[in-house]
Symmetry: C2
Subunit: 385 residues, 2 copies
Amino acid sequence: MSETASKAGQVWAHVGQPFVNPGYDVIVAGAGRMGAACALYLRQLAPDLRLLLLDEGGLPNEDGATILAPGVWSGQDLPAAWQAEAAWVRAQLVTAFGEVGFEDRPLLEFHEQEADDTVASSDLQARFPILSGLVQVDRLPFARLDPRAATYRPGAVALACAQQAIRQGADLMLNAHATLIPGGVQVERLTVTNTHQIVTHETHMLSAPQVIIALGAEGPYAAEHDLGVHTAHARAYRQVPRLNVSSDAASPILRTSGLTLRPQTGGFTLVPAIHHRDPHGYLPQGGHLTGVPTGLRRETLEDLVALMDLLPALATEALELGRSISDVPGAWLALPGGSPRGRPQHQALPGARLLLGGPLADVLGLSTAYDLAASVAGVQTRPWS
Amino acid sequence: MSETASKAGQVWAHVGQPFVNPGYDVIVAGAGRMGAACALYLRQLAPDLRLLLLDEGGLPNEDGATILAPGVWSGQDLPAAWQAEAAWVRAQLVTAFGEVGFEDRPLLEFHEQEADDTVASSDLQARFPILSGLVQVDRLPFARLDPRAATYRPGAVALACAQQAIRQGADLMLNAHATLIPGGVQVERLTVTNTHQIVTHETHMLSAPQVIIALGAEGPYAAEHDLGVHTAHARAYRQVPRLNVSSDAASPILRTSGLTLRPQTGGFTLVPAIHHRDPHGYLPQGGHLTGVPTGLRRETLEDLVALMDLLPALATEALELGRSISDVPGAWLALPGGSPRGRPQHQALPGARLLLGGPLADVLGLSTAYDLAASVAGVQTRPWS
């Protein structure tokens, strides 16, 4: 066995692989991009800490917000205080995780009103011919250009982080449901029966000095239900419908009135604005458009209808509305601090640390995961400051 | 028959009273405070128009927002452009409708930060001894005082408006479900069977040149479902829990962080802030407080928990939390323009006019109803301008 192989962590992917608790210093519940990145940075900053990364699904988990995240990096609307941090995230995306689909793509944000940093939208048409078919430039005559913007695949980042963390010694258990308990985690190893029921195969009580809750929008609920700690965080159900208008590697990211059009796999993924949290107990459901059922929730549908004059393709069959909620990709997104403008953050709770991504995770998620890892490791410096 | 009696309108309260359509110029669907006031002002401004006022329930209807409206008049946070209008509403409340529970009550709004128009909260304690038991004045050291504020009973206003409208010649039909149709209204007269089912006794198709939709939060839905007209309005479910701390005629209205404490029947009614619309399909449900089910929706519960340090009575049994949603009074409230800050408004739709009250209906509702009536009557002037 080579030195590298002997240092790699163990992976329990299914219940057929027997698990005996070797004892852990840190348990990270949730292997989305926030949890996986935190695990990787912990291996790098505190290699002596024995670490277990858990996920209820596979890797990458197809149920969470990571897999549906837009993967749009832009510093355009960030406060100055966060610019250096965001730039560090960009550099990480370019260099640290191998192939994650990183592509430089300018972001064009269109406005009806002129501002200090806007240019004439018509001046951009020659450089970006795709605009002619998509944006009513005469109705949106001004644009802000972010030449440093980029797109990437957050799911690939999560996968790369988890794999690197394992190569650097983290253990990983998949199909493992985590319940927080004082001083540790109760882990139910899940399996699927012949009749497609998900059942618990076995349960382990794992104690650990450090527990990191990286369960996305479920994190605050776990903190409250399992630990009895109430937080101010909230969540919103975000759908990302497809717009079948041709795009290619030269297509820019487009944005207007909070709607982002992200070039993806030959078309566009629409990323609607999140205006506010959804109330407790809300069950996502499709809305109706003049009586016809669609798979888009009503609020998103209304926003798209309001933009049809400015983006005429939204009024065509190019927009995949679906017929019911399951037809349109969507996921619960954490809203740190309860706000759609809340940045990624971590929070010390009695008995655990809560790590949240949310709407700005594409830009500040990796740095927040790093910050938490450094905090656990007792490292004072941050590479971006 | 006296002249007055001969001019009074007819009332159909139940299906035992036969109805033959006499023909109407205006049908007002909804006899909450907005619809009833509009009906009254129409009788005054356009006495030649034959008018029918409809309501699905009784009078006042106990299901709508009117009966649970706070009934707090204050010009404190209104833009200057609306002050004269609000003052006219105040004068109407004092003089126009008889006994509606109008009481002058100062409004005290407490803040952590000083501002131009704030005074020291401690200076108010001598004048308002009730503060000592309710407000942590050392945590909220600054206050704005609105000496012109008042409380009244919106349900009584709706009832008085409807009764005056009938005395002045409007017809009224209760237990009548209205469906909008092109050029009029389809009316189902409802009755209750021995087995407590609500059934349609008979249906009438009533044509009218003018149809006014005053169905509160249901109005925009009726416009869309019945007429196919999409609007930008929204709604929110507002609960008004009771706080059993003694109040009397001298007790001021209290407000902090958007929560209003309205003295009512010897205690206080809490009127929580509305932060944003509820999504389509949301079903109100009780939240949990550290595992214990309550009748307050989660969002309101969280707001109250956040204020417990400032208003310690909220942390006691004086707050009636209930056990399930039906324990706490609540109603759907229209949000004109989709915003909790949207003022009452009317809107011309193809085939009808939509009249909406919403969160500011206590202050600007009557004037908006007047404005619509004057618009239908072809009257150019408004008494407040």
